[in-house]
Symmetry: C2
Subunit: 346 residues, 2 copies
């Protein structure tokens, strides 16, 4: 049993006294093979339990029919649902997904890129590490004709393929809601400067304030390195201001969890003494006592599946004989505010 080998087209050919090329074509319903021969071949193939050896084809076609996915952390719901989006988009194309978690480590991201290059994936989808600020490790891939599409956490660079999320739309909804509730002093707990998302959030913040003619006060803008301790420190910093903000926009739900704990530890009441708006839309709020007023959905699934479609376009293009330049595929989708109806949780 250990020496069992799958039947090959050679054996089918031998059985029927035809050539391997005839078998090869017949199996794929090639028009230049007669109907009777095609039928006989396919019957014998079924009888023998023939299955095409993909490795042989991969080898000959110089393709692996697999794409690499590099993401920071699958334990984040955002990325795990992103992966589901990729899987679904890939299934139709009969491709395989090779996964690599960078775990927010730049070095690990580089290693994974190398490994995937070695394994000759046909393309790569990437969402960057928090640490990643240089992108040379992706440059090598272009030489090997391996297209790359970034999603969500994308490089701050021009000529790349990407799908990202426009946070303005969702945030404008949220700030509008805050203003309608009477809030005038809205703080911001932002992320580390390295992330493109951080700069983006800041710009959005400015836009929203301006849209509602609110006064800009740099005192209520703080930032966190995203560590638990620093999240708490940032929140504390805001609360210690002489006139603390009545509402705070927080980088994401993870940071918010720490902020809520900090506020509570002070004996303050969420959504009464201070209200929150956050990003990421974790699926946990419905179980929590204290929730933000709203969270901004960034559509992981949609981002990743569109990025996957982009990647397949590029892969298809790479297979073209002509040396035409590949297109630059870029798209930004709109975010949306998700409201949480509960008000207080004591």
């Amino acid at each position: 049993m250990s020496e069992y080998r799958l039947p090959t087209i050679k054996e089918i050919a031998k059985r029927l006294n035809v050539s391997v090329s005839t078998v090869s074509r017949a199996l794929r319903d090639h028009p230049s093979i007669g109907l009777v021969t095609t039928m006989r071949v396919q019957n014998v193939a079924k009888e023998l339990g023939y299955e095409v050896n993909r490795s042989a084809i991969h080898f000959k076609e110089r393709k692996t029919y697999s794409i690499g996915v590099i993401i920071p952390n699958l334990s984040e719901p955002f990325f795990s649902s992103a992966l589901t989006g990729i899987e679904d988009a890939v299934e139709a194309n009969n491709y395989n997904v090779i996964i690599g978690q960078s775990l927010e480590s730049f070095e690990r991201e580089k290693r994974i890129v190398e490994n995937m290059k070695d394994h000759r994936v046909d393309g790569i989808l990437v969402s960057l590490t928090k640490e990643t600020s240089s992108y040379e490790h992706f440059d090598g891939l272009k030489k090997y004709n391996i297209p790359v599409v970034f999603f969500d956490r994308i490089p701050s660079k021009k000529n790349i393929n990407y799908v990202a999320c426009n946070l303005v739309s969702g945030m404008l909804q949220a700030v509008t809601k805050l203003v309608s509730l009477g809030h005038k002093r809205i703080g911001l707990i932002n992320g580390p400067a390295k992330l493109a998302a951080t700069l983006q959030r800041l710009e959005i913040y400015y836009k929203c304030l301006k849209a509602h003619e609110l006064q800009l006060d740099h005192e209520v803008i703080v930032s966190t390195s995203l560590s638990k301790a620093d999240n708490r420190r940032a929140m504390t910093q805001l609360l210690d201001i002489a006139e603390p903000p009545t509402a705070v926009i927080v980088f994401n739900d993870y940071v918010l969890l720490d902020c809520i704990a900090t506020v509570k530890a002070r004996g303050l009441v969420i959504n009464q003494d201070v209200s929150f708006i956050s990003f990421a839309n974790l699926p946990i709020w419905e179980y929590m006592d204290s929730v933000p007023l709203a969270s901004i959905e960034q559509f992981a699934y949609q981002q990743s599946s569109m990025a996957t479609d982009f990647l397949f376009q590029l892969i298809k293009h790479a297979g073209n004989p002509a040396g035409t330049e590949p297109p630059l595929l870029q798209h930004i989708i709109d975010s949306e505010m998700i409201e949480y109806t509960r008000t207080s949780g004591q």
Copy 2:
């Protein structure tokens, strides 16, 4: 650029006027090639930026150097950290991980198995769907010499390779704690009968009660289909008993979240009117107002990395020339109780 091709050993051979076999051996420091030749070959290889074509080797060796991982849902922290364990264990062997989420669908699980068989993975790691109760879709793999190792959610079958978690150890710790706190009437909210884990939890429950000489009352044993609504119904059922249990062992933390909400909706206080013990150890409790007394850690990372080691043993064995029967690799690791110190969350 689009026609760019990587250098092959042929070109190195041509450059140096040696044969391809010499180059092949020299690149791998084969002893039968002279030192000078080896050096010259390796220098030219580096100069040309040579990289071995894995696809060619995969083809020739009839191996893909990739393993398949089939798990229900990456959005569950348990499975995402299991995947990390697999990745880490795999990295050392220069293998790739091909991922497939069954999303708790039996049909999808079958499809993924087929797909991975088609792609000739060298082995498969599986954690079963909740729906899965027949295992014929794995039988075909043995014929193709593709070893399978199950972990955590394993088939109720004898001659399989698996790593699972023994819940007795952790649960005994937990019940001992409950008893020491004065609890005498301990309920159980169990999972669906299909799951092996459900039967296991029931047996453990019996064992624990017997160990502490507590009275067994089937009235306080209910079960849930794991849906949100049914979780709440199960908890309500327990609270509606004339003499409700003062402590409840819950199938897992997800169910527990619903139970806690149900209890609170009744105006009861967690860890005062009713205490909980749960499984799975979600990383969310530290942010919650209401927490279980303890949760039982099932060591996803350790389970999966051991399962991966098992798989590599089997893969290695499959490569053996002799037709010797592969070993049966089975292991059960102990669970542990994780205590949560906070008492009440109002």
